[in-house]
Amino acid sequence: MQASLEQVFNAIVREYSERLWWHVRRMVGSHEDTDDLLQEIFLKIWTALPSFRGEAQYYTWVWRIATNETLNWLRRERVRAALRFSSAEEQAVQRIEGDPYFNGTAAQRELAKAVARLPEKQRQVFVMRWWDELPYEEISAITGTSVGALKASYHLAQEKVKLNLSDAEVSK
């Protein structure tokens, strides 16, 4: 029983670790934090694996754990930032500006910073649509939000990103 659980877990790691890494990386904004958070996510998956009842597909279940853990991490980050008399958004922007692994264009950096300024839920929907390129139906299954609400949320997020980008353009 234990061996078969390990086999399933190893298959999940092989199948999803890289994809989830990119999702978490976009949400968190730093290589080291992503690495730590991914360990936490997979530890959670391993711990919860015996209670997986198969009502959802592994794909949805794994993504749901990852997105929930990431949102929890962002909430904890908000508290940590408040204790340093700062905002979580500003901390995220600073992480992107000083990211040694960022090798994109200036426009791509501005886009990443504009997304970092979005509220957590909107950021999640934007990342899942824009970078993870997931269809609305899959995002809906993962987040438990209706497709209509997700479309509205993504539209709002897009508008805010455009606004943030134009603000960045003006301030140059």
Binding site: V13, S17, W21, Q39, N103
Partner: protein, 121 residues
């Protein structure tokens, strides 16, 4: 992953990540001291609580019983002896009382007299 070309990773990062993640099940998660003793602490606390409650209930019941006993004794004492003095003389039988009792019990008077004289002798 065409949109993810703006972020790089160290060489061989994903292979290393996969290995580290697959090592999670073999990691022995040692429980902390608190985690190890907490079931025993909970057990001891429950036992202590049970003993304390039992002791409280028992001591209350005993005190009430003792109080009831003393009340009853006090009641009996007051009923039997309202002035606080038991006069035993009142309950002592006289020779005449015994004679009347024996006559009422159909004992022949001669026999009673005979026995009375024998006792005197």
């Amino acid at each position: 992953m065409t949109r993810n070309n703006d972020i790089s990773t160290p060489q061989g990062y994903f292979q290393d990540l996969e290995k580290r993640l697959q090592a999670i099940p073999s990691r022995e998660v040692k429980p902390t001291v608190i985690q190890r003793v907490s079931p025993w602490l909970a057990y001891a606390a429950s036992l202590a609580l049970l003993v304390a409650v039992g002791n409280f209930v028992f001591s209350r019941a005993t005190a009430q019983e003792q109080e009831a006993d003393w009340d009853y004794i006090s009641y009996l004492t007051r009923s039997l002896d309202p002035d606080g003095q038991v006069e035993l003389d009142e309950y002592t039988l006289s020779e005449e009382d015994i004679r009347c009792f024996l006559i009422a019990d159909n004992i022949p008077v001669e026999l009673i007299e005979h026995l009375s004289h024998e006792e005197d002798d």
